[in-house]
Amino acid sequence: MTTLITDTRTVFSRELRPVLRDPFTIIFSMVQPLVFLALFAPLLPGADALQWFVPGIIVMSCLFASSMTGSNLLFEIQTGSHERMLVTPLRRPALLIGRALKEIVPMFAQAALIVAVCVPFGFRFNLAGALLGLVVLATFCIGLGALSYTLALAAKNQEWLFWTVQQTLIFPLLLLAGVLLPIENGPGWLRALAKGNPLSYVVDAERSLFNGDIWTSATVSGVVAAAAVAALGLWAGVRAMRRSD
């Protein structure tokens, strides 16, 4: 019989299969952040630039990828294959998690690549911490992916609506979390906004985890923020599936 885990695997492998059969696009998108990193890192002051920046880049690419979860769905909603899947006994959260994981897992391969490229340039990381960091990041991104899925259901036949909302939200989310630029030196209102952004806590947790500071309050805050976003995303997604016409 099926479980949430086997259902998730079914959805995940269905989604991943076309990618594996045609890996060119994924390889291309994996190289992109490396270019980004090469151009951006030299601009950062201080010797610890990579320590600060690499976890940020990993968060960023995972964030972008998972926020696209709904985009493939848009087409499948139109053709009828999403409807077909909704009639199967697949557990609703598995539909959300499986699709989000399809975006996240390639990004983890990319994270490994980024780390491997950066180590010769002096990047140091703690393996256990980094792995735990990826789990926290995956949790957050499952939530974000589920929200992207929800957005696709809500936007339905208006593709522009999906993209407009996605683009409008993703950049403030990114900038207000200190992913690319430090927030500490910003004005008070900016710091206040960052405090309300769950991604801020996740990014902080990633930095301290990659550094090997595992048992810190930053880790706890990051775990709580990621879990909250995941719970919110799954709740919203399941609800949207139940209600959508």
Partner: protein, 324 residues
């Protein structure tokens, strides 16, 4: 197998389905017939847990479609109006993952997929991207997906739309065989009147979200339309005299022709011809017109069904239901 009470769905101000009471017993094959927008798909979508009813209740395969969705989903198959197979996928992959979704082991899913691929004539295209398949091939793949777990209750929303006559016949055979073999209960919607006529022992005519008739095709035709006998004569005067000879049948006259509406026409015609000959004004020609479901629909709804077909249909389908 299906039991609905006052099943209703409103979309804003559209009453797509307006109070449907429906009982389907195990093993039945039921066709829902109705013009575009009648509410057929919406009805199926409620019965398959895709959308919640605005009001009313439905039990499908013994479970409530709102409160016990998972139980319902485990027991039914659904072939929607769109394409079930993802366009970026390959057909066989989709079949296998569909089987996995229903809890089949990888091996079982693979075996059944292989069997369906063969029996639906998809062997050559099953390993290609779905987007490269023709409409008819894609439709057959959708049908294979709906059958992968051999459900006890199968819903098909316009399964044969877009298929050529040969594949339509093929599909009909497949559905009938499935039913004979597994005693599957089948509910299908169709625009093809001949399909409803030849396959279903029960036809439910839906119009404006309501059931306007529910019976076997033969009884629907007999009850609502009846046969027509058209008698032709050489002259109007003869036709007029014949009309009085056959007054018991209440014939209508139009020039040299008499039209009689009755039941069991083929058995009555020889007697009528004898009577006319005996009365001295024999008929010059005779035609018996048996009713089609077209005629039934026209009679029931007052709206025409015209030959030809909806925009997306092949132009050669002569017996399709269209709202004019």
């Amino acid at each position: 197998m299906i039991e609905t009470r006052g099943l209703t769905k409103h979309f804003k101000d559209v009453r797509a389905v307006d109070g449907i009471d429906l009982t389907v017993a195990p093993g039945e094959l039921v066709a829902l017939l109705g013009p575009n927008g009648a509410g057929k798909s919406t009805t199926l979508r409620m019965l398959t847990t895709l959308i919640p009813p605005s009001s009313g209740t439905a039990r499908v395969a013994g479970f409530d479609v709102v409160r016990q969705q998972r139980e319902v989903r485990l027991r039914i198959g659904y072939i929607g109006q769109g394409n079930g197979a993802g366009h970026s996928q390959r057909g066989r992959d989709e079949l296998i993952s569909q089987g996995r979704a229903y809890g089949l082991s990888v091996r079982d899913a693979r075996t059944r997929a292989g069997r369906l691929v063969d029996s639906l004539g998809l062997a050559e295209v099953a390993d290609r991207r779905v987007s490269s398949l023709s409409g008819g091939q894609r439709r057959r793949l959708d049908i294979a997906m709906g059958l992968i777990h051999a459900p006890e209750l199968l819903f098909l929303d316009e399964p044969s739309t877009g298929l050529d006559p040969q594949n339509r016949a093929n599909l009909q055979e497949h559905i009938l065989a499935l039913r004979a073999e597994h005693e599957t209960t089948i509910v299908l919607t169709t625009h093809y009147l001949d399909e409803a006529d030849s396959m279903a022992e029960r036809v439910i005519v839906i119009d404006h979200g309501r059931i306007v008739a529910d019976d076997s095709p033969a009884r629907l035709k007999a009850e609502h339309v009846g046969d027509r006998i058209v008698l032709g004569f050489d002259a109007e005067t003869e036709a007029a005299r014949a009309a009085s000879t056959l007054a018991a049948y209440d014939p209508g006259r139009e020039g040299t022709r008499l039209t009689i509406t009755t039941q069991g026409a083929p058995r009555r015609v020889p007697g009528m011809l004898d009577d006319l000959r005996a009365a001295g004004h024999p008929a010059a020609e005779v035609e018996v017109i048996r009713p089609t479901l077209d005629d039934v629909f026209l009679k029931l709804t007052g709206r025409s069904l015209r030959e030809g077909g909806a925009a997306q249909e092949p132009a050669n389908s002569t017996d399709e239901l269209v709202e004019v």
